[in-house]
């Protein structure tokens, strides 16, 4: 536990140092933090043994909420909770239905909902401008409209703050009885029911929380890239989130962030080194992780501790 916090603190420092020393990495790291927050949600579901292959729908909901509302209300401090609420609300509605299913059915139904959302974003052309996407209008932060450099730092700071906040939240949640019950769903659900714990409600709570974090992640991505396209809801984007979860490891709330930073850095350096074959490098990294480090980056680190 102590080591986890120490590593988190060191990681935070390293991120800030990196963003300060290498200006262009600040953008990459902000995206990584935003995706990390969304992957925290996947981690919750993984604890219950469920994989969501459609989690990018919450990213998209958050991102498009920001894109749609920004022209009317440019205040980022209000847009973020609005995006979180929309995603959580949607998560609650479809969650009521989805938590009846397990395993492959759960994963595929999530995928189906995500693809429905993707198609809607693409086809409601007059509203969403289709695949070309929507430009996010200029944002204000607590009433001020800072210039680009400052704004990048502010969004990076918000992302970092939220990452720490949600990281802590997930850690406490997983340690709570509700969080422990998730592991019960994974091992044997009937036992939970015999103990008087309603499994569906446990899963629904986790699902809504994961949707909320997905929405926050999406809102942060929209605020960083300032242009949202339906691709954010596409299945490849969901696959990316699952990839990050595996890469980072499901053992700790730090895993998603280790995974997302590693993922974004590998991708950007692979793309810089060999523009034609970056997918192959990314694929090779995932294979190596699966073969030699099933616990992900987190697994590697914690194994070293124990040794």
């Amino acid at each position: 536990m102590k080591r986890e916090s120490l590593l988190a603190a060191l990681g935070t420092l390293a991120l800030v140092a990196c963003a300060w020393a290498v200006p262009w990495l600040k953008f990459i790291l902000t995206i990584a933090l935003a995706k990390g927050i969304a992957v925290l949600g996947i981690l919750l579901l993984l604890r219950a043994g469920q994989v969501s292959f459609g989690h990018s729908m919450f990213l998209a909901l958050g991102a498009y909420t920001v894109a749609f509302l920004a022209p009317m209300e440019s205040e980022a401090v209000l847009l973020l909770p609005a995006a979180a609420l929309v995603a959580a609300g949607f998560g609650l509605v479809i969650g009521l239905f989805l938590v009846r299913y397990r395993d492959i059915f759960f994963g595929m139904l999530n995928l189906a909902f995500a693809m429905v959302l993707y198609s809607l974003l693409e086809k409601l052309y007059s509203l969403t401008k289709g695949t070309d996407g929507i430009r996010v209008a200029a944002l204000s932060f607590a009433g001020t409209e800072p210039e680009r450099g400052t704004q990048e730092w502010i969004v990076f700071g918000i992302a970092l703050g939220l990452a720490i906040l949600f990281g802590l939240l997930v850690r406490f949640y997983l340690a709570s009885p509700m969080g422990r019950a998730l592991a019960g769903i994974k091992t044997r659900e009937t036992r939970l029911e015999f103990m008087g714990v309603p499994a569906r409600r446990v899963l629904l709570f986790a699902y809504v929380l994961s949707a909320l974090m997905g929405g926050v992640g999406g809102a942060l991505i929209a605020m960083t890239t300032r242009h949202v396209t339906p691709q954010i809801a596409y299945w490849t984007s969901s696959g990316e989130l699952v990839f990050i979860a595996i890469l980072g490891g499901a053992g700790s709330a730090l895993g998603p962030f280790l995974g997302s930073v590693a993922f974004e850095l590998v991708r950007v350096y692979a793309a810089a080194a060999v523009a034609e074959a970056w997918q192959m490098i990314l694929g090779a990294v995932l294979l190596l992780v699966i073969l030699f480090a099933p616990g992900g980056v987190w697994g590697l680190l914690s194994r070293r501790w124990r040794a």
């Binding site: 390293a14 140092a17 990196c18 290498v22 996407g133 890239t225 396209t229 950007v268 793309a271 810089a272």
Partner: protein
Amino acid sequence: MTDAVTRRAAMLGAGATAGSLLFAGSGAKAQGKPSELRVGITTFLSGSASVFGVPAKQAAELLFEEVNKAGGIGGVPVRPIFVDEAPGTDHLVGEFRRLVQNEGVQLIFASISSGSCLACTPLSDEMKKTTVLWDCGTQRIFEEGQHPYAFRTQGYGTPEVLAPLLYLLKHKPDFRTLAVINQDYAWGRDSWELWKSAMDVLKPGVRVVAEMFPRFGATDYSTEVTRLLAARPDVILSTSWGGDLVTLLRQAAERRLFDRSTFVLPVCEPSLPTLGRTMAAGHIIGTRGDHWNNHPSPKDPARLKRFVDAYRAKYNDYPIYPCHHMAQAISATQAAYAKAIAAKGGGWPNDAELAAAFRGLTFDTPTSSITLREDGQGLEDQIVGISSFNAQYPFAVPKDMILFPAAMVSTPVGRKSVDWLKSLTPDFLNQIPAPIAG
């Protein structure tokens, strides 16, 4: 226990330091002549649009090699840095920053995809980095805002749709029914809106018997072909491209759709070599510009032949329109640097001076010359013709070509394309020039 933590801390610290040393400083630029001119180029290196992206990249490599052999641009050798735009907006926007802040590129050639261009142009404003929009076609770029550092060195959606429509109205003025089958994404929808807006005022009363938007990347068009066979439209419009168009036309040819209806295919030129003899003669074909292999009267025939021959010798394929668009971006860059260096009395231009040189620039292409308007939009002529076969090419090439001057078919500065198209009158048809010889 403690020493493990220290070791890790040391490792992290070392990593961070090494990282910062690795990247810091390389973004710094001297005001004098740089040792090399770096150009960031975003293009599709993977995915379905790589049918455009990879040939364009090859053209860039070929042409920059030539430029460097001839002494570079302003005496400075050029190094292109390619970036794949397939992973999507968030990655591409990050890559744009990396190119500017880490690689220290002097200018960026942005994007095939309109979505990518829409994401990159505001960034060019913010980072004050000259961005040449080398291939994307959306009319939204310069009609929805001003971008002081962005320039499009080629035509765009409006002229590329209006020219084939005008050709159709000239070639087959008595058509009464039309069907559209476009890919289901922004360009498919946009191009149909542009076409419909213009058609409704230039030839009111055409009945649209089918509007179909099959999935992007669809592999089976049997339902659509059946519907088209049943609806018997006089004209079938499709602005589809790449593999989608090849598949559609192959399946249409098998079921003799070409015999029943006249196709209008504004973006089909890159697919023609693949289609070969499967493509039927007698249909209206376009190439997003005027750079046909059999252009009857190019401005610089020797230069066109040299480019086509060199490309064929190196890559064993005919250059397609993205290759020409890449060549245009490179020509524009050479012309702009020459102009900026002359304006500075031999000194190397900074970002603002380079952008100033691009504004209003006129540069030569093998087939014509292109002027960049005050809003940054390039005026590229459009040639549309009827598909035909001859002994020289193993695939369809146009005949009875009409050259539409860019200024005639482009939306005037400050107006929106759809509004402008709706304000046209049938008199506009009188402005259509006569076919060019060939």
